[in-house]
């Protein structure tokens, strides 16, 4: 299914993409294409610019050179925002609200994937029984799982994930991999950063290496 015609549509196309801050080069120039149904890996050491690249693709930062399209639109444009969802080092969860309430907010802002249910999703990421706890009292890994559950509920076709494996135990890593596989099978695409310490289970369609 992954290589059907419909899903070969390019999700991200970057040509000579580069970013500099105060005219110091952070990354690039990069050329890559991420097609629907595939998972891309951004590899690089600490400080090589992985987070910065994801922020450029999300439209939070403006690239200083080159050209990039997200589903044919400029990153950060309304179309691109409707199609992409991201998870960064900061999870964007409200500590005073419960896990479930946090999911509901995400749905209110981004909409909900057809047939997805917050309760079921919390169970799927291994948070049975924590739905009503304030997020502030969850452990580091449990917070991460909440953010993953929110992500998986959204209708976004493109995921931009910054170190989704950090703070997770073995079961949590399996959960991420299962979510990624399901997402790709459904015709979505994901871009995942990693510094290569955690083994990535899946066949990765493209790897973007950022030199240090």
């Amino acid at each position: 299914m992954k290589f059907s015609d419909a899903s070969a549509q390019p999700m991200i196309e970057a040509r000579a993409l580069a970013f500099e801050r105060r005219d110091e080069r952070i990354f690039g120039p990069l050329d890559f294409t991420l097609v629907a149904g595939s998972i891309g890996l951004i590899e690089g050491d600490n400080g090589s610019g992985k987070t910065t690249l994801l922020r450029v693709l999300a439209g939070l930062l403006r690239p200083t050179a080159g050209d990039v399209r997200v589903l044919g639109a400029a990153p950060g444009s309304e179309d691109a925002r409707a199609a992409a969802a991201s998870m960064g080092h900061l999870l964007g969860l409200k500590g005073d609200l419960s896990a479930l309430e946090n999911l509901r907010i995400g749905i209110g802002l981004y909409g909900c994937k057809a047939g997805a249910d917050p309760h079921a999703m919390l169970e799927r990421v291994g948070l049975e029984g924590y739905a009503e706890e304030p997020v502030r009292t969850l452990s580091a890994g449990q917070k991460k799982r909440t953010a993953l559950a929110r992500l998986a509920l959204l209708p976004a076709r493109l995921w931009l994930l910054d170190e989704p494996y950090a703070n997770l135990d073995r079961h949590g890593i399996a959960v991420v991999n299962a979510l990624l596989a399901a997402h790709a099978d459904a015709g979505g695409a994901a871009l995942v950063t990693s510094h290569g310490a955690v083994r990535f289970h899946q066949d990765v369609s493209c790897t973007i290496r950022l030199p240090a």
Partner: protein
């Protein structure tokens, strides 16, 4: 996949903010307490001379309420910035101005409304004439809304910077001066039995304008501030 409507985003944000305020309802009371403290301290600082207190009561209550609002203005986007929720807002498919409008409405409801409720009491304690009370209330209603709208635009501008607090105060002062002048003008006129409609009308006109423009300006400012 079910697309998400505009009303959904607005409702989700408003609900979220009200819920958060409710969870931390103690914090929401802070501005009120602050205003009470100021109004209580004034007689101590000036001596309990009734005529003097009554003379300045309208102005003191007004300044106090607006300053109490200022106090919490800095925090309008701070929490969302620190935990990454602001980024999620900016990245969501909803128009940012809409989400900001919801945030603003919640802010006004949580911060200004309790202040407006308690203001007549403070004014009474300081000896404001009964006749001027409705005018004070009206002036406060308009002035707080206007201040909230203008203030959040400036807050949005400083969101990405290190020195937000001072800057905010610095930038807000020139914009707050006309508001205080008109609001205090109305109350002062009412205290002296003069007509007070003109300054109130000016405030209302400014408010109408700000209601339309502020969310848009705020969204623009947020985008500028986050782009680093």
């Amino acid at each position: 996949m079910s697309a998400v409507g505009l009303a959904d985003g607005f409702r989700a944000m408003l609900q979220r903010d009200l819920l958060l305020a409710w969870r931390r309802r103690g914090d929401a009371l802070l501005p009120v307490l602050y205003a009470v403290i100021v109004a209580t301290l004034f007689p101590f600082a000036l001596g309990p001379e009734h005529a003097l207190l009554a003379r300045i009561s309208g102005g003191v209550v007004l300044v106090t309420v607006l300053l109490a609002m200022l106090l919490s203005l800095d925090a309008v986007f701070r929490g969302d910035l620190d935990d990454g929720a602001l980024e999620q807002m900016v990245l969501s498919p909803q128009p940012l101005a809409l989400l900001v409008a919801a945030r603003l409405l919640a802010y006004w409801l949580v911060t200004a409304l309790p202040l407006i409720v308690v203001a007549p009491l403070l004014a009474y304690m300081l000896g404001l004439e009964r006749a001027a009370q409705p005018v004070l209330l009206l002036a406060l209603l308009l002035a707080t809304a206007l201040l909230a709208l203008i203030g959040t635009v400036l807050t949005a501008l400083t969101v990405g910077t290190r020195r937000s607090g001072m800057l905010l105060a610095l930038m807000l002062l020139p914009l707050a001066v006309p508001i205080v002048i008109f609001a205090a003008g109305a109350v002062g006129a009412a205290q002296q039995g003069l007509p007070w409609v003109a300054p109130v009308a000016w405030l209302a006109a400014a408010l109408a304008l700000a209601l339309v423009l502020a969310p848009l300006a705020c969204a623009t400012a947020l985008r500028i501030a986050l782009d680093s």
